[in-house]
Symmetry: C2
Subunit: 348 residues, 2 copies
DNA sequence: CTGTTAGCGCTTTCAG
DNA sequence: CTGAAAGCGCTAACAG
C-alpha cells in the first residue's frame, strides 16, 4: 500500500504539498496538482483513514446510538439505520453502530473517549434521557432523531406528533366518527418518559376535547395478543366506539381478529388506523391499513446531516425540525354503518 | 484527554510499560501493574483508538457490507445487523455499516484500502458475487453470511436450505398433502444467482421427486399483490394444490386474500407455510403462519465471530457452517378437508 | 521484568 | 506557491 511519501517522491514535491492537494486546504498551482494526481493514480494511492484522523483530530466517523426499544426493533428503525448510513457515506463519513444495551451511560462515555468518532446520532430518545444527559455533560457533539424535554442548543429531527395525532383524529371525525379510541405504546414506555408515547397521549386528550368528541385512551404492549385484549377491554367498557387509532402496528392483527370475532367488518363496522407506521407494515395487513406514514428516510438522513453540519462548523446554532406524517388512506377506515343503523333503530 | 505518556509519568514507568500492561503483551510485575491501573483510573485514561490502530496496523473495526436486496430489507436483515453489532462489541470491535448501493465493486476496493477496517462480513451473497470476487482478488479478510458457489478457503455461515426445504415438504406430506406449490423469490433474483433462490429451487424439485409428490414451482416478487396473482395462476393451472410453501413472507397477505376470496378457510381448505421467515412476521398474520424460523441472531453473530477468529489468527482453515431452520407450527397448516371431501364424492 | 526509541501515515504550523 | 519538520498517541522492536 503506497503512502503519501511515495506519491510525493514520484511527483517531485513535498509530502505537505500532496496533503494540501488532496484536502484543498491551500492553493496549489495547476501544474503540480496535475503531477500529484497523476502520481496518485499511477500508484493507486488511498489516504489512510486512521493516520488522517490521528493527525487532524477528526476521524470522519460518526456513531449511531442504536438502542433497542422495549418493544423490539421494527422496520421503522431499520429505515433509520439504512438512511443514516447512506447519508453518512454521501458526506464522506463512516457510520459505526453502537448497539447498546448500554443502559449504562458510563459505557457511552468510555466509547466517546476512545476518540474514534467525531459525534453521535441518538435515537429512541426519552424525555429525560440518560444518553443525552451524558453527552451533554461531557460536551460531546450529537444530534437526536427524536427529542428530549429540554432541547436547548441541541439539534434534532423528530416527527411532529402533535400534528400527526390531530390529523388522524380529524380524518376520522370527518368520516363521522365521534367515539374514538387511542391505543398508545405500553404503560412501561409511557412511564419511562418515551417521547412519542407521552406526546401522543397528551395531544390526543387535547384534540378530542377541542373537537368535542369522546375519546378513550389505553396503553398496550406491542403484540397482537395485547392488541386483542386491549380491543376487547375497550369495547366492553365503551360499546359506542367506532374507530381506533393505534400507535403501534404490531397490535393490529390482534385487533383485526377481535373485530372479526364479533362478526364485524372493517371498515363498515369499525375503522382502524395506525399512526407513525411504515407503509410496508400497513400493506402486509388484510385489509391494508390506513396510516399516517412517517418520513423515516428523511429522519435518518437529517439526523446525520445535522450532526455533520455541526461538526464542520456550518451550524451557528441548533437546528430543530419537526416533520409531518402523511395520511395514506387505505382500506381499513371509512364511515361507520354499525352505529348509524342502531341509531336508526332507536329513532324509530 | 490524558495520553499514555501522562499515565506513564504518574505511575513512574515508561510508556511502553503502560502499553504492555494494557495489552497484556508482556509480563508485568503485579506491583507496577497496580500502580499503572491506579494512575489510569485517577486520570480517567482511555486509549486512543486511532493511534492504537495506526501503530499496530489493526483497527479493531470491521465492516458489515449491508447490501439492500432487490426485494427490500426486512426484519431478518435487521436482525443480522443488530446481532452482528452485539457480537462485535462483545469482542472489543467496532462495526461500521457499509451500506452499499456499491454495486460497483471498485468502491468496495477503495473502502478497504482506506485502512479503516480489518475485515468485512458480506451478506446477501450471490453464487457468483462481485463483492466476494473483489475481496478475494485483493486478499482482504472477509466472511459471508450466506455463500457463493466456490467457497474454497472462505469462512461462512448460512442457512441449510436443503434441509429446510426438505423438512417443510416432509411436514406437509405427513399432513397428507400430495400436491404442493413452491413460491420462490423473484425470477430476477433467481437469474442473478441469488443463493437462497437457486438452492431452494433445486432442492424442492429433488424432494418432491424423491417423495413421489406433485410439486409446482413459481417465482414471485415480494409483494402481497404479486402473491395474490401467483396464487391464482397456480390454482388455475393446478386445481388440486392443497398446500403452498413460500420463500418470502411478504407475499403471504396476498395469498391469504386470494384464498379468502375463494371462500376457503386456512388451514382446512388450504395450508400455507413460509420458510426462512421471521417469527415476528409470522405472528403478524391472521391466522399466525407456520414457518421454518431461521436462526438470524446466530447467523449475524457467527458471521462476525468467524471473521474475528480469522483476524486474530485463531483460525487455521476456513470454518463453514450450515444452520438449520426450526419448524414452528402455528395455525396456517393442517390436513386438507377440501380435496378429501371431493375425493369422497368421486368415490361414491 | 522494564526502559528507550523509532516509526505508523498523515496534517499543520513555521519558514521561505 | 512550496518545503521542512514537528507532532498526533500509540505499539513493538531493540536493549538492557
Amino acid at each position: 500500500m503506497p503512502t503519501i511519501a511515495d506519491v510525493a517522491k514520484r511527483a517531485n514535491v513535498a509530502v505537505s504539498t500532496v496533503s494540501y492537494a488532496i484536502n484543498g486546504t491551500r492553493p496549489i498551482s495547476e501544474e503540480t496538482r496535475q503531477r500529484i494526481f497523476a502520481a496518485m493514480d499511477e500508484l493507486g494511492y488511498r489516504p489512510n483513514a486512521l493516520a488522517r484522523g490521528l493527525a487532524s483530530k477528526r476521524s470522519r466517523i460518526i456513531a449511531l446510538l442504536f438502542a433497542a426499544p422495549e418493544r423490539g426493533l421494527g422496520i421503522t428503525e431499520l429505515e433509520f439505520v439504512t438512511s443514516a448510513a447512506d447519508a453518512a457515506k454521501e458526506n464522506g463519513y463512516h457510520l459505526v453502530l453502537w448497539s447498546s444495551e448500554m443502559n449504562d451511560p458510563e459505557e457511552l462515555r468510555r466509547f466517546t473517549q476512545q476518540g474514534l468518532v467525531d459525534g453521535v446520532v441518538v435515537m429512541e430518545v426519552h424525555l429525560d434521557d440518560n444518553h443525552v444527559n451524558m453527552l451533554r455533560e461531557i460536551s460531546f457533539p450529537f444530534t437526536m432523531i427524536g427529542r428530549c424535554a429540554d432541547t436547548d442548543d441541541i439539534s434534532y429531527v423528530d416527527i411532529h406528533f402533535e400534528q400527526t395525532i390531530k390529523e388522524a383524529v380529524q380524518y376520522l371525525a370527518e368520516l363521522g366518527h365521534t367515539n374514538i379510541a387511542f391505543l398508545n405504546h405500553s404503560q412501561a414506555e409511557f412511564d419511562a418518559g418515551y417521547g412519542p408515547a407521552v406526546r401522543a397521549h397528551t395531544r390526543f386528550a387535547q384534540v378530542v376535547e377541542t373537537m368535542e368528541l369522546t375519546g378513550v385512551t389505553r396503553f398496550c404492549r406491542a403484540t397482537p395478543l395485547a392488541g386483542w385484549e386491549a380491543f376487547n377491554d375497550l369495547l366492553t367498557a365503551h360499546p359506542d366506539l367506532t374507530a381506533l387509532v393505534a400507535m403501534n402496528d404490531r397490535t393490529i392483527p390482534g385487533i383485526m381478529q377481535a373485530i372479526a370475532e364479533r362478526g364485524w367488518r372493517i371498515p363498515d363496522d369499525f375503522s382502524l388506523m395506525s399512526v407513525v407506521s411504515s407503509a410496508r407494515a400497513a400493506e402486509m395487513m388484510v385489509p391494508p391499513l390506513t396510516t399516517m406514514d412517517p418520513p423515516t428516510a428523511e429522519l435518518g438522513r437529517l439526523g446525520v446531516e445535522l450532526l455533520i453540519q455541526q461538526l464542520e462548523g456550518q451550524a451557528q446554532n441548533a437546528s430543530q425540525m419537526l416533520l409531518p406524517c402523511r395520511l395514506v388512506v387505505r382500506d381499513s377506515s371509512g364511515p361507520c354503518r354499525r352505529i348509524q343503523s342502531s341509531k336508526q333503530v332507536e329513532d324509530q
